[in-house]
C-alpha cells in the first residue's frame, strides 16, 4: 500500500530565487499533484500605477521585474506611444532592439545557469554566470545600470550608443561567444546533463497550445510563436529565424534558449550595423486616452500590457500579463507524474519569474 506524501516546495526554498509555493503530493518520490500557491511577491503594482502619473510609471514598469526590466519599460512605452500616436525616431527603435536583445542574452544565460544549478552542476552554473557578467558589463557601459537600465522613455530612449561603444559591444559579443563555445556543449551534449533533461517534463504541442504556453516553452513544443515576427520596434527591418524544437521536454526548452542566444547576438549585430542616424527621442505632449493591448516578445515569451488612459496624467487601468503567468498552467501539467528530483529542473525550465507574475 502506498501512502501519499505531502510536502511544501517553497516559498523559502533555495532553488527558487523567488517565493512561490508548490504543494506537492507524492507517492514515494513521484508527484501526483502539484498546486501553486502564490502571492508572496504581490505588491499591488497595478494600483500603484493608477496613482502615479504615466511618466513615473515608466520607472515603475521597469521594476515589475529586474530580470527583463528593459522589456517592461519598452512595452509600456510602446503602448503609451500607440495611445498617443507618437512616432518614435528610427534610431531609437534600433537602439531599443539592441538593448532588448542584450537583455535577452543576459536573461537566457541567467536561467541556463540556474538550470545547471537545479540539476546540481555547480561548475556550469558558475561559468554561465561568469559569462553573463560580460553582458552586464555591456549594459553598465551603455546605460549606467547593471540590471535596471532606465534608458527607455516615452518617445524614444535616453541614451545613445556612440561608435566607440558600438565597437565595444561587438568586441564583447565576440568574447561572450568565444567563452560560451567552451561551456555550452556541456549543457547540450553531456551525458549526465541529458540524463536529467531529455524526456523530462514533456509538454506535447497540442497541450502547449491549449494551456496557453508562451515563449521558449511553447517554441520547444513546436508551437511557432514569436512576437518579434510581428515586427514591432525595428524587428521588421532585421532578419531573424524563429527557433523552434519539437520534443517539448526540458532538453528542447534548453536547446531553444541556447539557440536563441545566437539569434539575439546576431540581431544585436544587425541592429548595430543598420543603425540609422538621427535623434533618439521625440518630445511628447498631452496625456494618453483610449485603450490598448501592447505586446512584445520577452525572453520568457509574450508580454501583454493592457493600458487604458482617460486623458488625465493618471492611467485608468494598467494591467500586466506576463509570460510566466501564462506558463504556470503548463507547468502544473508537466509536474504531475514526474519525480521529485525533477521538480526543480522542470520548474526552472519554464523560466519562472514570479515577481512579474504577481506584480
Amino acid at each position: 500500500m502506498i501512502r501519499r506524501n505531502t510536502i511544501p516546495f517553497g516559498p523559502q526554498h533555495p532553488v527558487l530565487p523567488e517565493p512561490i509555493q508548490l504543494r506537492l503530493v507524492m507517492e514515494d518520490e513521484k508527484i501526483v499533484e502539484a498546486l501553486p500557491s502564490i502571492g508572496y511577491v504581490h505588491r499591488g503594482l497595478e494600483k500603484i500605477a493608477e496613482k502615479k502619473d504615466y511618466v513615473q510609471d515608466v520607472y515603475l514598469a521597469e521594476r515589475i521585474c529586474g530580470i527583463c526590466s528593459f522589456m517592461h519599460s519598452q512595452n509600456y512605452c510602446q503602448g503609451i506611444e500607440s495611445l498617443m500616436n507618437v512616432a518614435v525616431p528610427d534610431r531609437a527603435r534600433f537602439l531599443r532592439v539592441v538593448w532588448a536583445e542584450i537583455h535577452r542574452i543576459h536573461s537566457h544565460l541567467l536561467i541556463l545557469g540556474l538550470l545547471a544549478d537545479a540539476f546540481g552542476f555547480e561548475n556550469l552554473f558558475m561559468r554561465l554566470w561568469q559569462i553573463r557578467e560580460l553582458v552586464l558589463d555591456i549594459m553598465e557601459k551603455t546605460t549606467g545600470g547593471r540590471v535596471i537600465l532606465g534608458v527607455c522613455t516615452i518617445g524614444g530612449v535616453k541614451r545613445d550608443i556612440t561608435p566607440e561603444t558600438s565597437d565595444y559591444i561587438l568586441r564583447q559579443l565576440d568574447e561572450i561567444e568565444r567563452q560560451l563555445s567552451a561551456v555550452l556543449p556541456s549543457l547540450t551534449h553531456d551525458y549526465s546533463v541529458k540524463q536529467r533533461l531529455v524526456g523530462i517534463g514533456v509538454l506535447p504541442k497540442d497541450k502547449a497550445y491549449e494551456l496557453g504556453a508562451v515563449g521558449p516553452v511553447a517554441r520547444a513544443s513546436g508551437v511557432a510563436m514569436d512576437l518579434r515576427e510581428s515586427g514591432y520596434a525595428a524587428y521588421g527591418e532585421l532578419n531573424f529565424a524563429m527557433v523552434t524544437e519539437s520534443a517539448g521536454d526540458c532538453y528542447a526548452r534548453t536547446l531553444v534558449r541556447v539557440r536563441e542566444l545566437a539569434t539575439s547576438a546576431d540581431l544585436t549585430r544587425q541592429a548595430l550595423a543598420k543603425m540609422p542616424s538621427g535623434p533618439i527621442t521625440t518630445p511628447v505632449k498631452g496625456s494618453p486616452t483610449g485603450e490598448v493591448l501592447a505586446r512584445i516578445e520577452q525572453p520568457r515569451g509574450e508580454l501583454n500590457f493592457y493600458i487604458k488612459g482617460n486623458g488625465s496624467r493618471n492611467l485608468e487601468r494598467f494591467r500586466v500579463r506576463t509570460p510566466t503567468f501564462a506558463n504556470l498552467p503548463p507547468l502544473l501539467h508537466m509536474l504531475t507524474g514526474c519525480q521529485l528530483a525533477d521538480v526543480p529542473v522542470i520548474a526552472i525550465c519554464i523560466d519562472p519569474c514570479i515577481s512579474c507574475t504577481e506584480r
Binding site: P17, Y40, R43, G44, I48
Partner: protein, 166 residues
C-alpha cells in the same frame, strides 16, 4: 575557547526574497558567482535558516510573506543578523504606496544593516554582508539564551500522531 573571530570568518547567509522585483535577487546571486565570489570571505549561501548566521532579505513585506519572513528568522540559531538589501527592503522603495506593501522588513524582524540601491550593487552587498559579519562577531555568545521565541509554547495538547491531512 579563545575569542577567535570565527563568526567573521564564516558567516553563512540565507537569502529570502520577500517582495522583491528580482533586481536585487539576481544581484545577490551574482555575488556568489566567480566575478564577485562571496565564498572567498568564507560566506556560504545556505538554503536553510537553521544553518545560517545572516538573513539577507530583498524586497518589502506584504501580508503573505510577513509570516514567512518571521518564521525564517525565528528558525535561525542565535546569534544572527539581518541585512536588508535594496530600498524595497528598507522602506518599500517605489512600491511603498502599494496596498499590499506593509513597508520595509524592519516591520517584522530587527534589521542590522540596510544596503541602499535599486538594485543594490553587488559591491554594496559585499560591504553590507561584511558589516553584518562584524556585528555578528560583536554579539557575544552569552546572548544566546535571549533568543526571540515570541510566544510561550504552553498550549500544548496531545494529538494523534499521524492524523489525516487537513
Amino acid at each position: 575557547m579563545p575569542a577567535m573571530s570565527t563568526f567573521k570568518k564564516s558567516p553563512w547567509v540565507v537569502h529570502f526574497n520577500c517582495n522583491s522585483c528580482n533586481g536585487c535577487d539576481i544581484e545577490f546571486l551574482a555575488c556568489l558567482t566567480p566575478v564577485y565570489d562571496l565564498e572567498r570571505f568564507g560566506i556560504l549561501h545556505v538554503g536553510n535558516p537553521k544553518h545560517a548566521d545572516v538573513l539577507l532579505v530583498t524586497g518589502s513585506v506584504n501580508h503573505r510573506n510577513a509570516r514567512v519572513l518571521r518564521n525564517v528568522y525565528d528558525q535561525m540559531p542565535a546569534p544572527k543578523v539581518v541585512v536588508a538589501c535594496g530600498v524595497c527592503a528598507a522602506t518599500g522603495g517605489i512600491f511603498a504606496d502599494g496596498y499590499n506593501v506593509l513597508g520595509g522588513i524592519d516591520k517584522v524582524v530587527p534589521v542590522d544593516v540596510f544596503v541602499p540601491g535599486c538594485p543594490a550593487r553587488p559591491e554594496a552587498m559585499i560591504d553590507g554582508i561584511i558589516r553584518a559579519a562584524e556585528i555578528l562577531e560583536s554579539r557575544n555568545t552569552a546572548a544566546i539564551t535571549s533568543v526571540s521565541c515570541r510566544k510561550p509554547l504552553h498550549r500544548c495538547t496531545p494529538v494523534p500522531d499521524s492524523p489525516k491531512p487537513v
